[in-house]
Amino acid sequence: DSTDAITVETSAPFKSHIVDPPSRSATTSARELLSFFRDMSLMRRAEIAADSLYKAKLIRGFCHLYDGQEAVAVGMEAAVTRADAIITAYRDHCAYLARGGDLVAAFAELMGRRDGCSRGKGGSMHFYKRDANFFGGHGIVGAQVPLGCGIAFAQRYRKEGTVTFDLYGDGAANQGQLFEALNMAALWKLPVILVCENNHYGMGTAEWRASKSPAYYKRGDYVPGLKVDGMDVLAVKQACKFAKDHVLENGPIILEMDTYRYHGHSMSDPGSTYRTRGEIAGIRQERDPIERVRKLILAHDFATAQELKDMEKEIRKQVDAAIAKAKESPMPDPSELFTNVYVNDCGLEVSRPHLVLRIGPRIAELEWAKMNK
């Protein structure tokens, strides 16, 4: 049946640094491949929709899209359980979806609505799903790396037997706090996997212009590393499974995922001044993570081309429906301005007369406007 195991070679052997790499032979099944196809296609579609919403001015500020990199989020998720933790940077929409995040909540957050996964208060860069151990969504380059080590610290402290996947970019890979955290993670044998999503650019800066050594899987020096084809969801899964076992036993490991972002860095970046259109087209052509899985499915006759097309159509509808629903979600209630600053505000609220004087009337106006609408 659809769960029967099949064996597929990963696109290339893993390169490794002071560790024996896992085998290239990955095990999967019809069911899994179809779910990979579905999940990645949904992410792709959602990001493209976000692009349109941004252009329609329904999303404000920054908006970092993940299309091209879907195999990392999906392959990683396939290797772990929701008891394992994930933390990433601002390019976080798909990490949230991979963790079981709700499509409506994602779009509502992007549009700053009350049904958003952060009730509209976080925005594009600050998605979280605490109940699935997804810890965000961080806007400061590199900061999530020690934070993720801290989550792993808590997992070890509580002897949970779970691990943390701690994602960062090739630009972030030069941040000093990464080296500080890695040293402690190694000293304390924390169950943390540092996942460097090397999409080869940090904004407009190519990896070799930012890093004297762009061999990110080796940059841990005394910490083992693997270089993984991040466009091959099975390679990602294989590496993540291996890494999870490794870190529970030995402490940290680095996984460098060789991947690519199709869009510009954020919405103001056309993404084509510092790289050629040919480069982007070439990767789409030869390494696209969704097309790779489509080919595998077709090669194994797990579905027909038409069935996959239908699935994509289905997904498109699903995304459109989610957006329609998210658009209906109202703005957050004005009172939300002052909630969640603290869990326990120790009476601070009442001691801000200048804010009452200033914002009080505006809240009153808004209430009034609401009542008269």
């Binding site: 999303i59 404000r60 500020g61 920054f62 957050e109 700053g112 609505r113 009350r114 958003g116 952060s118 509209g120 208060k121 976080g122 925005g123 594009s124 860069m125 600050h126 961080h138 806007g139 400061i140 380059v141 590199g142 630009g171 972030a172 030069n174 941040q175 000093g176 940090g202 904004m203 407009g204 800066t205 212009r209 930012a210 890093s211 001044t273 510092y274 703005m331 957050p332 004005p334 939300e336 301005l337 002052f338 600053v341 601070l348 801000r352 200048h354 804010l355 004087l357 200033r358 914002i359 009080g360 009337p361 505006r362 809240i363 009153a364 106006e365 808004l366 009034w368």
Partner: protein, 336 residues
Amino acid sequence: KEMTVRDALNSALDEEMSADPSVFLMGEEVGEYQGAYKISKGLLDKYGPDRVLDTPITEAGFTGIGVGAAYQGLRPIVEFMTFNFSMQAIDHIINSAAKSNYMSAGQISVPIVFRGPNGAAAGVGAQHSQCYAAWYAHVPGLKVLTPYSAEDARGLLKAAIRDPDPVIFLENELLYGESFPVSAEVLDSSFCLPIGKAKIEREGKDVTITTYSKMVGYALQAAEILSKEGISAEVINLRSIRPLDRAAINASVRKTNRLVTVEEGFPQHGIGAEICMSVVEESFEYLDAPIERIAGADVPMPYAANLERMAVPQVDDIVRAVKRVCYRAVPMAATA
């Protein structure tokens, strides 16, 4: 003639780099990308990669390198893509830059400029919207400048680059694209503004409004509205938060006897508090009404548009505050 703040900054950088070969620019995306906000457009082409340096995303490291280069007598301009990221490097700004001249009894001066957008932009959320004016202006050894107009941007940036001490230069992303009239004098390459002097943007006699950066524009709009209701507001563009132009502030308050302070940052220990203190210290007996403070809301910046709008001061907040200090306040819920 009109000029955008972006062009004002760009031309100031260009002129000072051209005038002094020891001036160089470093930061993320300042070179090949022409600046994340295009402030450094064209400079790499003109001055080459030795003087316009794209850095990795390592603020602590490149800030330290900038400060070290200043120890040696170069005049670095360090761009933070936004000042939020300066927190990764703040130890170098405070301990390595601000304190060295003092600790070395004048042997190691630090002629460096730290610049970039500061405070709230639009829709960028809690981690990308903080105003650092009060923090930096707390610290002796630093100078802190907050341009509003194109004239400010040009004159103060040139002053900062020529200054022998470390200067924090706080720009505002939302002003980059705004155009302002500029005189021939302002456009002259010798143009420079004095550090530590406020500018009276609009004279008035009933009330003083002190503010800086983007809020200067809001205060001017408020003053316009108020003038129609017969209230004459004097608007002070602080330009420099440290040194703070206490003389100008106090002279104005001694004339108007009423004060509203406006800032976008968090209220506690903010600019308004210091101005209040300095007026109480020097002109207490001239005050006819309590000072009113308008500040950013005391919360991390929310993303949603309606909440964000409440979190930062609006023109009508200033209008209302002025009316309150002029004892012309209308009841709370029924305001225009």
